[in-house]
């Protein structure tokens, strides 16, 4: 087993995991530095949740290995659990207990000393103090997610694994949630967070894109965009919906989508894309080449996946 590099919170190599005949993780290697916020991206079924479960010892890898916080993934899973906070994709606390009671249960399972103080601290930090005596089942989506985060933070983990923490949560709550994540990263906590939202991906220090159980691309948001070598044109004017519908079927065009009053088309080859736009004829639209955005790149990658699978 390779010795963990000192600066790495997660250092795993060639992880493999199958469920029956279905190979879900297929030789995944991943390095995440301490204090980093790493965004975990990929389509549905790309293996994000499975990877997170492998990292916190909920699943055993069929092959490969590595370290998590310097502890061996396979042999020291119980010790890893003490240092990791895992927030499940689905709200999985007791709906018939209050916020404080749920937190008390978690705190006692971790054997925290000063349970009461730890709970009050985390409630204050997450802004949940006002809801401490409310039943968890009666909380709205945003508050449930905060409570789950509070439960993960109680034992002051060194690594936070968040599985689509903001699914179904309103924009304001999502922003506040991410502010908290940045605050914690600034204090030295490492965060691995899976998401489908591009605005969230852009708030990560680094993103990792998964497809078919493999790591496809990683880097900062800018690096990922540049690496994709995607060409994007944008048009303004009237009749962009009709233009989009026609463009979608032309060679060289991968995506053509309307965003508000602008039409964005993307493809891999500038010449082919330009030719396609040319074939539209004089539609009264004004075209210009623009910088591709992260969402253009991800839709491009998701499409590539569909074509190969």
């Amino acid at each position: 087993m390779s010795a963990a590099a000192p600066g790495l919170a997660i250092d795993v190599h060639d992880l493999r995991k199958s469920f029956g005949a279905r190979r879900v993780i297929d030789g995944l290697s991943l390095q995440v530095a301490r204090g980093e916020i790493c965004g975990f991206l990929g389509g549905n079924g790309s293996g994000k949740t499975t990877t997170i479960r492998l990292l916190c010892g909920l699943l055993r890898a069929d092959g490969g290995g590595g370290t998590c916080l310097g502890l061996d993934l396979l042999r020291e899973a119980p010790r890893i659990r003490l240092l990791v906070g895992y927030m499940t994709q689905r709200f999985s606390f007791y709906t018939d207990l209050t916020v404080a009671e749920n937190l008390e249960f978690v705190a006692r399972l971790y054997g925290l000393s000063g349970v009461r103080r730890a709970i009050e601290e985390v409630l204050a930090r997450i802004g949940l103090a006002g809801r401490r005596d409310q039943l968890a089942g009666e909380l709205s989506g945003g508050w449930k997610q905060r409570m789950a985060l509070a439960a993960c933070l109680l034992h002051r983990p060194a690594l936070l694994l968040l599985d689509e923490p903001t699914a179904g949560v309103d924009a304001k709550a999502r922003r506040e949630f991410w502010d908290m994540i940045h605050e914690m990263a600034a204090e030295g906590m490492t965060v691995l967070v899976s998401t489908h939202y591009m605005d969230e991906a852009e708030r990560c220090h680094r993103v990792v894109y998964l497809a078919g159980g493999r790591l496809v691309v990683q880097g900062t948001a800018d690096e990922v965009v540049r690496a994709a070598r995607l060409v994007t044109f944008e048009a303004n004017g009237t009749g962009i919906e009709q233009a989009a519908a026609r463009l979608r079927h032309l060679p060289g065009v991968e995506t053509a989508a309307v965003f508000g009053r602008a039409l964005r088309v993307a493809g891999m080859e500038r010449a082919a894309l330009a030719a396609a736009i040319e074939r539209l004829g004089d539609s009264g639209l004004t075209w210009q080449e623009v910088e591709p955005r992260l969402d253009d790149v991800f839709i491009h990658m998701l499409q590539g996946q569909e074509e190969t699978s």
Partner: protein, 375 residues
């Protein structure tokens, strides 16, 4: 964090207790279920029914008819109603209005005094053997003496002296009151419902609502989760035992001839069997619905093949073999044995060890099946 931690177990128990207390259904089920079952089974089931409706069709009103009718009624099994004709009586039998038809032929009295030994016809609706069984037995013992008082002296049959006498002592339940048999058995049945069904549901619920994933990701050991889930139901089981015993003694007059402490100890082993089975089911089932069905699957044979409703010795060998594996079969015998017969250690031992074996085997299977990971 390796090994067992009392602190974490207490945390589990504390949480379970809070959830249980908050769910009015659990408390209601704990108290109401035994009471309802007790009153239903205790008062409603009677394997030795009396005062069965009987049609009397008589073509000969005589002193002998009155003797016969009187003798029938004195057995306590028959309540006679006069019907005008055999046809009307048979119709009533077919409809189920009566269970017996007694036909006294014309010229009955004359034939008796002449010494012709006439026959009266008793038709019984034997579609339910249990309903008419005891009554027909009583009937057959009747004819030797029913008319004796009014017969002319020369016709009184000298009662033949049998070569030997039988002395019958009906022990433990001489009046053959069904409740005395059913109510002690109910302790085992109710414990099966509350401990087997409830544990399998409680654990599957954690899986179904996703909280199991959270538990597994936290530093709590499987044995702590298991005990945390099981211990509250052991407590619940004992509350029910206490309640049932109280009602059994005060309402149904069930005797307590043996040691209550021995009974509570033996039932502890029975609870362990059910919890092991419930836990095994919960590891197999993915949803609460499946767990419920598995528990049902075990519950029906428990009712039918254990000797709770029907005599164990009346079943064919293969059914007895199945019954012998069910913990409830042994728990039933222990309950009835200690309460009615005053059995002690030595007498219940043959029923204790099969339960211990069952708990051990099924418990091992359950622990093997319980996975610490999600795969």
């Amino acid at each position: 964090m390796s090994g067992f931690s009392l602190r974490r177990l207490l945390a589990m128990l504390h949480k379970e207790w809070r959830q249980m207390r908050r769910d009015p259904g659990t408390i209601g089920l704990t108290v109401m279920l035994p009471l309802i079952q007790l009153f239903l089974f205790g008062f409603a089931i009677n394997a030795n029914p009396r005062h069965l409706p009987t049609a009397l069709v008589s073509a000969d009103h005589s002193i002998y008819e009155r003797d016969l009718v009187g003798a029938l009624q004195n057995t306590g099994y028959f309540t006679l109603h006069r019907y005008p004709s055999a046809a009307a009586a048979d119709e009533a039998l077919a409809r189920g209005d009566v269970l017996f038809v007694l036909e006294i032929p014309p010229g009955f009295a004359r034939a008796v005094t002449r010494g012709d030994k006439p026959e009266v016809l008793m038709e019984a609706d034997a579609s339910d053997p249990v309903a008419v069984g005891s009554a027909t037995a009583a009937l057959l013992a009747l004819n030797a003496t029913a008319l004796a008082r009014d017969l002319p002296p020369d016709l009184r049959a000298p009662v033949p002296a049998p070569p030997f006498g039988i002395v019958l002592h009906q022990l433990y339940n001489p009046e053959q009151i069904t409740a005395l048999n059913i109510v002690p058995g109910l302790i085992a049945v109710i414990l099966t419902i509350s401990t087997l069904v409830m544990t399998s549901l409680a654990i599957t619920r954690e899986r179904e609502t996703g909280t199991m994933e959270n538990l597994l990701a936290m530093p709590v050991r499987p044995v702590e989760v298991m005990l945390g889930k099981i211990i509250p139901y052991v407590g619940l089981g004992y509350v029910q035992i206490g309640l049932i015993l109280l009602v059994s003694v005060t309402v149904f007059g069930i005797p307590v001839r043996g040691s209550v402490v021995l009974l509570l100890g033996a039932l502890g082993l029975f609870i362990a069997c059910n919890l092991a089975m419930g836990f095994a089911f919960s590891t197999m089932a993915r949803t609460q619905m499946q767990a419920q069905q598995l528990a049902q699957f075990a519950f029906l044979p428990s009712m039918m093949l254990s000797g709770f409703l029907f005599p164990f010795e009346g079943m064919p060998a293969w059914a007895r073999a199945i019954g012998a594996w069910l913990p409830i079969t042994h728990a039933l015998r222990i309950c009835r044995g200690i309460l009615l017969k005053g059995n002690g250690w030595a007498e219940i031992w043959p029923d204790l060890w099969p339960m211990a074996l069952f708990a051990l085997i099924v418990g091992t299977i359950a622990v093997r099946l319980y996975r610490e990971t999600l795969d």
